[in-house]
């Protein structure tokens, strides 16, 4: 099997509006990953000891399929994983497909005064 080329790119934590069936709309923090989604992938966010301390997986359903790849809800963890390195891994071959940093998108503060 031909080895795929490792792509370096940062993953951005974005806001995504969500309207629950009941209740007020809320904003989720999500990471969207553009990649082939036909095979199982794992996203591992590494701490300063290189340990996989935040794991998301298509097999577990914590990486959801989208039209362009995968997305995962990181609401509540956005501050914890912001700035850390990540690796997106092809499960079958253990090949690291993408790596880079997790970046929390800055929220622009609108001054109404």
């Amino acid at each position: 099997m031909a080895e795929k080329k490792l792509t370096k790119k940062d993953l951005v934590i974005e806001d995504e509006p969500f309207k629950p069936k009941d209740g007020e709309p809320i904003t989720l923090k999500v990471i969207k990953i553009s990649c082939d989604n036909k095979t199982e992938k794992a996203l591992r966010v590494l701490n300063n000891r290189n340990q996989n301390f935040f794991h998301r997986s298509s097999r577990l359903g914590t990486l959801e399929k989208t039209d362009t790849g995968f997305k995962t809800d990181v609401t509540g963890f956005e501050e914890v994983i912001n700035g850390l390195n990540y690796e997106l891994v092809e499960v079958s071959s253990k090949e690291v497909l993408h790596s880079g940093k997790i970046v929390l998108k800055e929220v622009k503060v609108v001054n109404n005064s």
Binding site: M1, A42, L46, N47, R49, N50, Q51, H55, L60, V91
Partner: protein, 320 residues
Amino acid sequence: MDGIVGLQQILACDAGTLLTTPTGAVAMGFGKDKIFEETDHQPQKVSGNISLVDFKKLMVSGLSHQPTMFMLKKSFDFLNGGADVQVITPKQTAASASEDVMQFVGSYLLGLDFEFVISHEARTIKWMWERILEKAAALTFKDTWDSATAVSVAGVTDTDIEGKNYSYRRSPKLIAMEAPSGASIALTDYQRLERKLTIKSSKAIKNDQQQSIVNFYTVTLEIAGTGMQVADLITLAGKAETPSVLIKEGNAGAYYDKFVFPAFKLGIGNDFKIGDDKRESRIKLEGDISIFAHSFAYGTNNGGAADDSTGITGGTMTIV
């Protein structure tokens, strides 16, 4: 496709170092009975005789025939959350790197109990690692096994993935067994039937993650002999209640492992039996010792090579 049986590697190193620069790494190498086990931990029974599982218990164990002084010293260091552990299965397909790799690091650290044995039959060390994980965390952990990349540790598992090393192999080779130090233990070599020195973690308390918290280690020396004469029994009875003990076991060439137990640490007891076909005596010395009450010395005059600073050729353990 079927999963392939067996475990290739159980390796431990200082906590927090496996995935950066592994330090203090030890692998089981020549050994047997390597097991990983996941079981339900104390399911809650509810009406209808239904078991609800909240936690999974993870256990790793194995017996190594490479019980160097370094491995014994590291086993003490690895107690109480001191180790990262890597467990590797054989390849699960013909593809390269298809081994399942379990890395017990960070929030997956295991608790350790160990048992170091020198007997007339074998020299071994047994590791027993354990913890529980809440069910979802256990599932997430499991999901990492077939995508994690194994760490190869230079000088430990880079030549042989199990960590087999001929120079770390230890076999029984009694040089001295004295109580008190300098005096015979009251059995000649020819009378001795069995001997066994055990140094093991003991009286562990389990925390809420079922990881061992170890405060003591137990030292036990058991010797069985035959043909003791009355004079030998009187010599034995004349020994102090807690004699000093010295044990010296040979390694390769002139190197050796030495164990020095001062007086007041091990209590001595003995049983003697005369029957139709036996005249057997059993001597037992035993004591519990606080977990940090020991020191290790290496190099010349301590059993090892001059340039050995870790105890891989030999060394001396002194109870303090």
